[in-house]
């Protein structure tokens, strides 16, 4: 540090580290001198878009403005913490979060996806919770593209290879194909954790004299990324130093042991504060802990267990080696803490302590290499008001409606369209993917794919459970990002509601192109506003989220993809509503209204390669009314099945409801609708129901009470056939072959 103060003119590679001229100037101003290499490294990673949210912050503030006190009532932790936490009853709290690992998954699909799972699991642990399930929201280029065959199987293998080894059931997710994701695959990993309300841990370093303990894997040269610029500068005289990949490499076994070790530490009351090490590694963990605490912090990098020789302070700070956690521990608990770690054979080292100052001071080799006010690193980074402008192409996109596209009208053409749609990559069975994930471990999985939502029992004594779904139709978002975000929210809400659970909270992973593009920022702003306004209308809070920008190749950004996760609670998981239609004789009903809505639809995309017009109309009041009907129907055991209508419309929902249970159905399309519209429109706020005749009048009354329109389509019947009157009859075998053959044919090498 003295060296830095004495050499103010030495040029530093701040631009190579991603810092702008004014950002570098501000660092010099904060410190009153030029930064050391370690300081420059820490500021550059912490002020990166990924860590600082510098382009999104001004927009994300809108979530706070739209969250009422009533919505906050169940929230124990929210935006700004490692993950949101909501109280779900009986003293239980649930934490959940979804995070992107998009760019690493393109560069190195297996490790990128694997470490995405690892990272989100540590986020959940950092709240003091036991991770209990994961889910993944995946998007790739065209299903038949050459690069998709490289990326998709490896991403799936990485998620399975890591998640299966952690003993966490994978209970849901999404798989979407679109040309804009070629070169920009999206890998968004979700994790759910459970804890007693009293056991919530927040990440802050307080209590002068408390020790900082780093535990888990050793710190190495992997995942250092841009900071290697500093290494190459510092090591300019050396040759032959091995360059390691900038994508992190995961070791799920170490993570599994770390989870069990962490939970035993929590149970024993040995943890005062805890923080995971993810993006920006120790730089992030130390500065965030110190910034959120009430004192300063001193850390000695010489104590950090390394797995490479000659690592510079900057490299140690910015290494993204996986499977590490950082805890704040009372001095009197240190021995007990280290003993628990020893039992699990987890390396644990005291690397520093909380001080009574207000500086984060880091030493290495007896020298002070970093001395900064921690808030300037972690919480007071730059904030940008990026230009926002509705793209001029938006009007033309809206005007290019699907109304003139050729529609099938004869029974023969409609039949062929049903089979084509069912087999299309966008709608076909996801079993090729989900059968590579363990959905059973821990014995609490009540629903998993292909159900609309995953459901877990969290308490075997009371049978209390939670349900979670993630959704986003990015074609709708491209047509109207405000409405599109609300439609994503509505679909996730509906997917939770059809299981009988009551939606409680929302998380998100906002995937967009470059924030320097005013059109992208307009999409982002619109999506945030749509989501926040939608949540306010539904009365459920956004408890956290993640932003991923720069998902674009050249000037072409991905379709705006705000993935929305909704968490619900169900008092008794034995009352869950299955997706598949039930016993023979049950009636098959359609709730909601169908209009001629094909903008952004799966049919327009699959059959015509068309994207234009308006997305389906949003009706959150009706979504809520349907949710209320379903919760009551679940509580009183009135319905035998419920399945949401979304991509592919009624035809797809009928096929899935039959194939899920193996039961056939006979239905009549509503007489007042054109058969094509009835089968394929994607109007929102619609649900397919299986209703036993014995309870039909009560369900009808419920729907009347809540203003939900009912169309009685037909009934479940014993023959393994789906008969759509006057259109076609399909054997379930034919439908099953069409539905299940597509992904194996594409991806079984």
């Amino acid at each position: 540090m003295q060296h830095a103060a004495a050499t103010p003119e030495q040029s530093q590679p701040y631009r190579e580290l991603g810092l702008a001229d004014d950002e570098y100037a501000r660092i010099r101003e904060i410190l009153g001198r030029r930064p050391t290499a370690a300081e420059l490294a820490m500021y550059s990673v912490m002020w990166s878009e990924h860590c600082s949210y510098k382009s999104s912050k001004v927009h994300l503030d809108y979530f706070g403005k739209t969250t009422s006190e009533a919505m906050r009532a169940r929230m124990l932790a929210g935006i700004g913490d490692n993950a949101g936490v909501v109280e779900v009853g009986d003293g239980w709290a649930v934490t959940f979060k979804i995070e992107s690992h998009n760019h690493p998954s393109y560069v190195e699909p297996y490790q990128g996806a694997a470490t995405g799972v690892g990272g989100i699991v540590r986020d959940i642990m950092a709240m003091g919770a036991r991770p209990v399930a994961v889910a993944d929201s995946l998007r790739f280029g065209p299903a038949d593209a050459v690069d998709t065959a490289r990326v998709l199987p490896a991403v799936v293998a990485g998620i399975g290879g890591y998640g299966n080894c952690l003993g966490l059931p994978n209970i849901g997710g999404e798989l979407v194909f679109d040309p804009t994701y070629a070169g920009n695959p999206l890998v968004n990993a979700l994790c759910i954790g459970v804890m007693r309300v009293a056991d919530l841990h927040l990440a802050h370093a307080s209590g002068t004299g408390n020790k900082i303990v780093l535990f888990g894997a050793r710190t190495g040269l992997d995942g250092i990324g841009g900071v290697s610029v500093l290494a190459s500068e510092s090591f300019s005289g050396q040759t032959g130093r091995k360059k390691l990949p900038s994508v992190q490499v995961g070791d799920p076994f170490t993570e599994k042991v770390l989870i069990e070790c962490c939970l035993e530490l929590f149970d024993a009351g040995l943890v005062t504060g805890i923080q995971d090490l993810g993006g920006a590694g120790l730089a992030c963990a130390t500065s965030e802990l110190a910034s959120a605490g009430d004192g300063g912090m001193r850390v000695d990098l010489d104590a950090v267990p390394l797995r490479a020789l000659s690592m510079t302070p900057a490299e140690i700070l910015c290494s993204e080696s996986q499977e590490r956690m950082c805890a704040v521990v009372r001095p009197s608990d240190v021995d007990a803490f280290l003993a628990v770690c020893a039992k699990w054979e987890v390396i644990a080292t005291v690397i520093g302590e909380v001080t009574d100052g207000d500086r984060l001071v880091i030493t290495c080799g007896g020298q002070t290499v970093l001395d900064v006010p921690p808030r300037t690193v972690a919480h007071e980074g730059p904030i940008y008001h990026r230009p926002v402008q509705r793209p001029p192409t938006q009007d033309a996109l809206e005007r290019s409606t699907p109304d003139t596209l050729a529609r099938p009208s004869t029974p023969k053409d409609l039949r062929a369209t049903v089979l084509r749609m069912v087999a299309s990559p966008g709608l076909c069975s996801r079993a090729w993917v989900t059968d590579q994930y363990d959905r059973y471990v821990r014995g609490a999985t009540v629903l998993a794919q292909p159900s609309d939502a995953g459901m877990l029992r969290i308490d075997e004594a009371s049978q209390r459970g939670v349900a979670v779904a993630t959704d986003c139709n990015s074609r709708y978002c491209a047509l109207d990002p405000y409405a599109g975000a609300q439609l994503a929210l509505a679909e996730a809400f509906r997917n939770v509601a059809v299981t009988g659970a009551v939606p409680l909270a929302v998380t998100n992973c906002l995937n967009f192109g470059a924030p320097t593009d005013p059109g992208v920022m307009w999409q982002f702003e619109q999506a945030v506003r749509g989501l926040a306004d939608g949540c306010a209308q539904l009365g459920i809070p956004v408890t956290g989220g993640n932003v991923s920008f720069y998902n674009q190749t050249g000037d072409t950004a991905i379709l705006p993809t705000p993935v929305i996760g909704v968490l619900g609670v169900i008092d008794d998981v034995r009352r869950r509503i299955p997706t598949g239609v039930g016993g023979a004789g049950d009636e098959v009903w359609l709730l909601g209204e169908t209009h001629d809505e094909f903008g952004g639809s799966q049919w327009a995309h699959e059959v015509h390669g068309h994207l234009g017009g308006r997305p389906p109309t949003v009706d959150l009041a009706r979504e809520q009314a349907i949710g209320t009907v379903l919760a009551a129907a679940s509580r009183d055991g009135l319905v035998s099945a419920a399945h949401d209508l979304s991509d592919g419309g009624l035809a797809q929902a009928l096929v899935e409801a039959c194939l899920s249970s193996g039961a056939g159905a006979r239905v009549n399309l509503p007489a007042q609708l054109d058969p094509f519209v009835a089968l394929f429109s994607e109007s929102s706020a619609r649900v397919l129901l299986g209703v036993p005749t014995a309870t039909a009048s009560r369900v009808a009354q419920l729907c009347t009470d809540h203003g939900v329109r009912v169309t009685r389509l037909g009934e479940v019947h014993p023959a393994p056939e789906l008969e759509i009157a006057n259109i076609a009859t399909f054997t379930l075998d034919d439908l099953s072959v069409a539905w299940t053959a597509t992904l194996p044919a594409l991806f079984n090498s």
Binding site: E345, Q436, D438, Y440, V441, A444, V446, E460, V573
Partner: protein, 235 residues
């Protein structure tokens, strides 16, 4: 005269290695079957007088070296091998099966699935014998559905081992329908010569109720072990 022993008196150990995953499920299955689960730690060479042992599934030691290879050399496994020689019922599930093979309690080996992918599915199976400590409750030839979830699940053995297994009625489970992993002769589970040690690739502990599993077909493996234990006590 002491009262007849009840199932609650039956104590079944469930081993946890670093990387074991299905110990929670195995303990729950033991409890649902009516016995008392006892946690056993890998570094402990004492089985705490349990009446039977379950070696559950997972990725012990991260499957490093070979699936089950490192676990087979831990202190608790030496105790399991000794107990098995005395006739204590031992069930290895998935990684537990791999461990029992590595420890020499069961013949053959489990290798990478023919399709190379991890396979998680509700698997139809046939119970080929009820003459083991873990299958006494099943009618021979019973068809059951139990989850299978593994990547190193393909059973292989040399011709003489296969002949011995078939000849001595030691094939416990066979896969029905399309083979999930290419196992030789569709073998999904086998038993030791005395029928006390059984290894299964499918997971009966995940099929103890139709709420959290595809069926309750797996529960009778654990009930059978209780019968076997109580039977030996009363003899």
């Amino acid at each position: 005269m002491s009262p007849a022993p009840t199932s609650a008196a039956c104590r079944i150990g469930v081993i946890t290695f670093p990387g074991t995953l299905d110990d929670v499920d195995a303990a729950r299955a033991v409890r649902h079957a009516g016995a008392q689960p006892v946690s056993l730690w890998h570094a402990d060479d004492d089985l705490h007088d349990v009446d039977a042992v379950v070696v559950p599934g997972g990725f012990s030691y991260g499957d490093y070296l070979r699936a089950g290879a490192i676990a087979a050399h831990q202190p608790v496994l030496r105790a399991v091998v000794d107990a098995a020689r005395r006739g204590t019922p031992v069930l290895g599930i998935c990684n537990g099966f791999q461990i029992l093979c590595e420890a020499g309690l069961l013949p053959g080996a489990l290798v990478r699935n023919a399709g190379l992918h991890f396979v998680c599915r509700d698997q139809r199976l046939r119970v080929e014998t009820n003459a083991t400590a873990w299958t006494g409750r099943y009618p021979a030839g019973a068809e059951i559905v139990v989850p299978l979830k593994s990547i190193e699940g393909r059973y292989v053995a040399d011709a003489s081992t296969l002949a011995a297994l078939a000849g001595e009625g030691r094939v416990v489970l066979r896969y029905l329908g399309t083979s999930p992993n290419g196992a030789v002769q569709d073998i999904a589970g086998i038993a030791s010569a005395d029928g006390r040690v059984v290894g299964l690739m499918p997971h009966p502990e995940h099929a103890i109720d139709s709420l959290t599993g595809p069926s309750a077909d797996g529960l009778d493996f654990f009930r059978s072990a209780i019968d076997a234990v109580l039977g030996s006590i009363s003899v």
